[in-house]
Symmetry: C2
Subunit: 197 residues, 2 copies
Amino acid sequence: MPRTQFTIALPDWCAVWLEERPAPCVTPQQRMRLVVELAQRHVDRQTGGPFAAAVFDATSGRVVSLGLNVVARSGLSIAHAEIVALSLAQGELQSFDLSAGASAPLQLVTSAEPCCQCYGAIHWSGIRSVVCGARASDVRQIGFDEGDKPLDWPDHLAARGIAVQQDVLREDAVGVLRRYAEQGGLIYNPAGRPAAG
Amino acid sequence: MPRTQFTIALPDWCAVWLEERPAPCVTPQQRMRLVVELAQRHVDRQTGGPFAAAVFDATSGRVVSLGLNVVARSGLSIAHAEIVALSLAQGELQSFDLSAGASAPLQLVTSAEPCCQCYGAIHWSGIRSVVCGARASDVRQIGFDEGDKPLDWPDHLAARGIAVQQDVLREDAVGVLRRYAEQGGLIYNPAGRPAAG
């Protein structure tokens, strides 16, 4: 019989790192600052792709969960930062619907605009708002593919009651992407390469 | 510190069930027959949503992995059948890219057309072809939401070298959906309900 379960885990350093952060993060900028620092640490430690995310209690600014791109270390293509952060938040709240399980609305803050997969996952997560740093064009600039999602994706999510704020500390988020590219980080699923290639 | 890992597992009965199946499955119809039976068993045992999938070695017809919708039992909104099957196949092959890790092209067979999240995940999985049973319209018919994906999504995937075949044993796959609805199965993320609702 083939295997019947899989696990996705953050690198061990994350727990200590978060304990050392000042809490809580009240503004979108403060939240993005934490997420960009998390992405930068991930790149510096070479523990994965240059993408980080976190779920916050939108009222108190408390960190509910962290997320990092751990595709390479987990061997799983779904393990993008947003998927990890949303799933860990659902684990924390013991509910597959973050809009039902939380005492306050929850917000996903991600260092880069979600790809087509994470855009889809946001639909089902129960998250109530999304804050993004780098744009998909910035991500493509260093060679990653982002897949096909509607150009007006923020409007699609807004129509479902999920507010999207873009370009928060965009330059800082782009700086992490550039650093990763400069140090020769792995670009899996590169843009322009057909999946069959 | 919030939790740092999560696990998604198939129900225990799957291993025994697969051992009792005739192997291998050579045609798309034989593969879909296995997947529809898997979905039906899942509904009968009330272990989750009425969706199943499997990854096959496209040449030999060997089952590489199974997938079931285990959103409710795992408490994770990403846990759709396609995500589970693709991730378990990647675990089996120890590669996040099924096009690189396999000795033969791999095929995803799913009892219902992928939602927007699973459509995105297919991009990054390395799967080389997709075979679908029920249509999104059939899934919506019993109340589930499918999210926003391009109407011409098979063409988008084809442009990336991923062939899509639709309507294989569609009526049988729809039968499982109807059975689930008739027995009052949980419809989470219902169509027409805004995520903020």
